[in-house]
Subunit: 285 residues, 2 copies
Amino acid sequence: MIADKLYEEAVKHQGVCVGLDTLEAYFPNYLIEQDAGIDEKLWKFNQKVIDATKDEVACYKVQIACYEAYGLKGLQAYSKTLKYIRDNGKIVIADVKRGDIFSTAKQYAKAHFTGDFEADYITVNTYMGEDAISPYYDYIKNQNKGLFALVKTSNPSGVDLQDVKTKDGKRVYQQMAQKVNEWGSSFRGKCGFSAIGAVVGLTYAEEFENIREDLSHTFLLIPGYGAQGGTGEDIAKIFKKGLCGVVNSSRAIISAHKGIDESENFAQCALDSVIKMKEDIGQWL
Amino acid sequence: MIADKLYEEAVKHQGVCVGLDTLEAYFPNYLIEQDAGIDEKLWKFNQKVIDATKDEVACYKVQIACYEAYGLKGLQAYSKTLKYIRDNGKIVIADVKRGDIFSTAKQYAKAHFTGDFEADYITVNTYMGEDAISPYYDYIKNQNKGLFALVKTSNPSGVDLQDVKTKDGKRVYQQMAQKVNEWGSSFRGKCGFSAIGAVVGLTYAEEFENIREDLSHTFLLIPGYGAQGGTGEDIAKIFKKGLCGVVNSSRAIISAHKGIDESENFAQCALDSVIKMKEDIGQWL
């Protein structure tokens, strides 16, 4: 059960998840100067970061959009990155936020839980309801896979729809939280959490109280730490009843070297940032 | 302005949009027997369908999930298919339903409006609010691109979230409809419709009255015709004040040959289905 493995890794590493939202702008100078294609450069960059950090993190989250932006070559690098993380025995969350009707979601499940783009977890958008995730259930049961469904996102306009009040005085995101918890109830591991988790943005740590009970068996993927403004103290509010998720930081880790170390040893800066993040979160646990 | 071109094509062809949700199960026997990779087979299948139908349809919608499911090879076929449609002067809607925070949506915009995966329109999921589409605005203004945002989907569990009642007695999907119309107000063409359109499922033709006014300047992408149960009469209800969208049919068109013509002339069956669909819709216009 993937939820147990992720929980265990999270406890061991203060919930730290490194986001490989790799952009050309983050490349160290030595890599920029190399005579290689974008596929090769994206891949080499990620490989260095993974090698440097893999013994210190709970998991990786790879943002597919950063690779799709480079077309087929970008997706070659994406494929190699996922495979490398898994070959190193680490958990990879593919941040794909797919969501569609049943027959299409079946294709997405095949796409991201088998073959070139196989991940351990994927993020999903369930605006379309349970049909958007039920095709994944077989993979959860039989292939040791997991999901994180969007509940409350950390971006400014997340409120446009998610914060609309419903007639029983709740918010749309609370409705979503309840649904996600309900869908996940058949997939709970020994740790008590389901393999169907929820994405809950860190910039809303206070508001998390509104959905804490609804998500009592739902493991969280928490974006927003670091470059997006979230702190260890915010995490402490979410973790006050115990560790219940992984905390993603991307830019603050994978661009930490810029202007400091532009050599092929750049990934040492990523490791330093990971250690700092672990200490920041660890002090509250 | 892409909205004007799509409107014009829709008027000319009774709004018919062919969905290239291509699956191996639809391959005619002659193609199954060919000694070629899946990339080649997907591409050849689509090419035949496009060649046969392109003079009779308003546009094509390509469901990326069907290609992602075959990994990198599938996406090669996807890329070639989009390029071929555009090279033939036809409009292609990439059904990708992407949606993410601003910085990530910027990457998706680059991914699907430039390079290997360039489309004219893409579908987007705006559960995350305006941030999820504002990075596309530059492409709409300067590169002749357009969007269709999910409002009301045609799948059974679409109601899970979309039909939740809000405190002012409306439904979540109505809130989404208003937002989409508002976001689109700066991008209206001569035809009166915006380049930011909405996906509204055909199985909810009656309910469309709840959002008709909210979407008065919003062009529609209407899935659900044919294999999903929607009829020309349903379309008539939506079009009663004039044509206001394109109507997608996939399986009923691209698998029409199965058991009837398994030769390399199979795509004639697709054309026949298109003609039938045009007559079915045309009688109500």
